[in-house]
Assembly symmetry: C2
Homo-oligomer: 326 residues x 2
């Protein structure tokens, strides 16, 4: 079977591609090739992709119908749609976010529909779907009320996915992702970038400037768990989803101060002291609209798993990225 | 002040235009002109519009940016966005519905944004936002889960409206309309067309073929109340809306058999006997996904009003449309 991953040159997309190849199979079929579509590829992803004939890396814009026609073929049996302009960038560049996150998603769904084979399509939505006047603990009955353009575009993508699924054009499944911690690589324009930065930079011997205060809570999930979640979302039978094709993934809640403390336990006081607080009103304004605590019985029943605790998340990051602690 | 009504050549849009001119004022300002945009105009609307210099009728497609640039000017101080491909047609013609109902709405919002004056914009959404596994009585906390493309496009319009409002591009207010009863004129391609047809056609001495059974429930609102609702939605201060820019309008619940009985009381047995049941599986499949019973405390607190009962709705229709009962 052939797989398409949009955003396949990014951190999560490329991790997902690696995990899929390591398994060798998806939905009971052998994987014969994975097309990775992205606007740009990280160097290591580009190198790995170039040296493995099962990968087909394509540089292009997910909102360009010609690009989509090239990467999404009738024999594409599963699609993972991760490509997006991230939250901070979609907020600062409204038209760019609408074009890539809204029109890009619609173009992709239309291209999949043209193939006429109704493949499974897993969509990376976000906990940024929630906002406004929120209960202390959200649950599966909480209405999406995004307070960012990114969150709005993700919610719209969920509703499009549901309707294309209902019409039989594809078999869609949407996951609302917590903040992913720890992302490897460089800080990005996501407003949530700090949540990885306060672990990643100190472990690299660098200072991390945290734009939010130590009491700020984060609803988080590790790269390992979210990759497992993407694959599970694709393999679950349609009946497991019922009449709604979106689910809030499980996560754990941690304050920034608790994350720093976990890092001190794992990597020592010197690393923990490399986190300095540099308040940034623009980032705080976005982050404060995100939920911190959720009950996710639907996801747990469907077999999606949270992480054990923040220390484990940090240890797995150190192992996965082969970090040397000084 | 200048007003734009999309769908202004249609039944509700033109009634709204008449009510606005009769008031003479909106949001504390004198109304100097109303632009009516529609793909086609009913004959009576065209005649009235042609004979009143305060009306400016434009025939065009709401998803055409050039048309929108003509009708939506910087001095447009209020917009009522009613234009839509109706439910049955959007279900049968998927691409048409997506173009007009989704892209048309986005184009309109973008055109309003270009004006740079953040006018009030009232959006006609629909109770078709709801569907799937529903509680017996819905309320303001029920998650939108549309089971038609029309409902999906309306929900997406609500989320776009909210984000454009949050960004300060406009001041949006969305109303989820019940089924409007009694619509004057001809049956249309809306799956809900029967709910007016079983009153209107018998009063005209014609047989009405009802595609759903007598036990089918309808959540309904009269044209008078919905026109009042549009105006109220525009005049309420922004603070009355809070962090959500959408509200479920109040309505009343009536079974088809109860509507027929109310008509018998108002217009006699002969009229009531002109309703014949002709089951239509396609219409039933759409209608059965719609909610029948809602609690609407938010709307009631905001001053939106339901009708007294079905008999009153029928009597008002007879008065408004100058129907002669045989």
């Amino acid at each position: 079977m052939k797989i398409l991953i949009t955003g396949g040159g990014g951190f999560l997309g490329f991790k997902l591609a690696g995990a899929l190849l390591a398994r060798g199979r998806l939905n009971g079929q052998a994987i014969s090739g994975i097309t990775l579509l992205d606007g740009a590829f990280a160097l290591d992803a580009a190198r790995v992709a170039a040296n493995d004939s099962r990968f087909h890396a394509v540089i292009g814009d997910v909102s360009d119908p010609d690009v989509l026609a090239r990467v999404c073929r009738p024999d594409t049996a599963a699609v993972f749609h991760l490509a997006a302009v991230v939250s901070g960038a979609a907020e600062a560049h409204f038209d760019l976010g609408m074009r890539v996150n809204l029109e890009g998603t619609r173009q992709l769904l239309d291209q999949v529909r043209k193939g006429g084979r109704s493949p499974r399509l897993v969509f990376a939505s976000s906990v940024a779907a929630f906002g406004g006047e929120l209960p202390a603990v959200l649950d599966d009955s909480t209405i999406a009320n995004p307070q960012t353009s990114y969150g709005t575009q993700k919610v719209i993508g969920e509703y499009l996915l549901a309707d294309y699924t209902r019409k039989g054009f594809l078999d869609g499944r949407a996951l609302r992702l917590p903040t992913i911690v720890v992302r490897a690589g460089k800080p990005n324009a996501a407003a949530s970038s700090f949540a990885s930065g306060i672990i990643r930079e100190p472990l690299n011997g660098e200072v991390s400037r945290c734009p939010v205060g130590p009491e700020t809570g984060v609803w988080l999930l590790s790269p390992r768990r979210v990759v497992e979640g993407f694959i599970r979302a694709c393999e679950l039978p349609a009946a497991a989803w019922g009449s709604r094709r979106v689910v809030n993934l499980p996560g754990i809640t941690a304050k920034v101060a608790e994350i720093v403390e976990a890092m001190r336990k794992v990597a020592g006081t010197r690393a923990a002291k490399r986190v300095v607080y540099k308040p940034d009103a623009r980032i705080q304004a976005i982050v404060k609209t995100w939920p911190v605590r959720l009950r996710t019985p639907r996801a747990l029943e469907m077999g999606f798993k949270p992480d054990a605790d923040v220390e484990t998340v940090i240890r797995e990051y150190i192992a996965d990225e082969k970090i040397k602690i000084d």
